[in-house]
């Protein structure tokens, strides 16, 4: 990341844009991992402080995002340990198979004699996505957030979460399938995933 490279070179003009960029990205992650705004803000700020306290340890600016998210992940874990323990649930492929709940919302609208509206579906999809992400078990949510929301690679995600490449791929797939299932009504099309 360019801002990190400039900060390492001592360029003070990179400070504010770097902080704003990292704060925004990390807050989005902590917001969906922690659940409460206050917790998300606190974890994002703790992450920023840790990043700067250890900035001399950043060897490669290209890897700054993975480095920052690893710190954020650790703070999220600590926050979770301090809060109420919520047991994790494993998603089986079996429960993610397409079923009748997949009937797209467009079909439901047609059933009521209304025309499907692509823009309406898109807006609803956006609104429902956050709910669906929050409802994902944490094991899958963290992988989906890092891979699909933050755009980190499989290898970077594995490094951040201390997982094998295969474990990241498996969790990502199950997380994506769970999201698809949860959002199926808002994904448009004709009978997606619906059994005949």
């Amino acid at each position: 990341m360019e801002w990190a490279r400039r900060l390492l070179a001592g360029d003070a003009s990179a400070f504010t844009p770097f902080v704003e960029s990292i704060q925004h990205r990390v807050f989005q992650y902590t917001w969906l991992m922690c659940g409460q705004r206050e917790d998300a803000e606190e974890v994002a700020q703790e992450t920023l402080l840790k990043v700067f306290e250890n900035f001399d340890q950043l060897q490669d600016p290209e890897r700054v995002r993975a480095w920052v998210f690893r710190i954020a992940k650790n703070f999220c874990l600590m926050k979770r340990r301090r809060s109420v323990f919520a047991p994790e649930r494993e998603l089986s492929l079996d429960e993610l198979l397409p079923g009748t709940e997949d009937m797209p919302r467009s079909t439901q609208l047609e059933d009521r004699g209304e025309l499907p509206d692509e823009r309406l579906l898109r807006a609803e999809l956006g609104q429902q996505l956050e709910r669906a992400l929050r409802e994902l078990p944490e094991t899958y949510r963290s992988v989906v957030l890092l891979r699909d929301v933050e755009g980190l690679s499989t290898a970077e995600t594995a490094e951040i979460l201390d997982l094998s490449i295969d474990a990241v791929k498996q969790r990502l797939h199950r997380g994506r399938l769970a999201l698809r299932k949860s959002l199926a009504r808002y994904l448009g099309g004709n009978g997606e995933g619906k059994q005949p």
């Binding site: 917001w31 994002a44 700067f52 996505l129 956050e130 994506r176 959002l183 994904l187 099309g189 997606e192």
Partner: protein, 98 residues
């Protein structure tokens, strides 16, 4: 994975569909080799419900790519910003002296 499909009647329990179902993320992420990609594409070509399933999965993933939290983080308090600057300067000093 077998490539036989010929417009089979789709069922969530159809083993041919299940094989595709299990590898769709790797397929969409370009992580499968050419042979596995071809087998999946040959299956999907003859299985309209699988095409629809793949389409909805892709759309769901694209929605995640475009996700933006509606809640913005609050402004960083001035005292924290000062601590961040001091920590950065101290880290730079350690780096130079290393």
């Amino acid at each position: 994975m077998t490539a036989q499909h010929s417009n089979h009647t789709h069922s969530a329990r159809d083993p041919r569909c299940l094989e595709v179902f299990a590898r769709l993320s790797e397929y969409l992420d370009g992580e499968l080799d050419e042979t596995d990609c071809r087998l999946i594409e040959e299956h999907i070509e003859g299985c309209e419900p699988c095409v629809e399933f793949l389409r909805s999965l892709r759309r769901s993933i694209e929605a995640s790519h475009h996700y933006a939290a509606k809640v913005e983080p609050g402004r960083i308090p001035p005292e924290l910003e000062e601590r961040l600057k001091q920590a950065w300067q101290a880290a730079l000093a350690r780096r130079r002296s290393a």
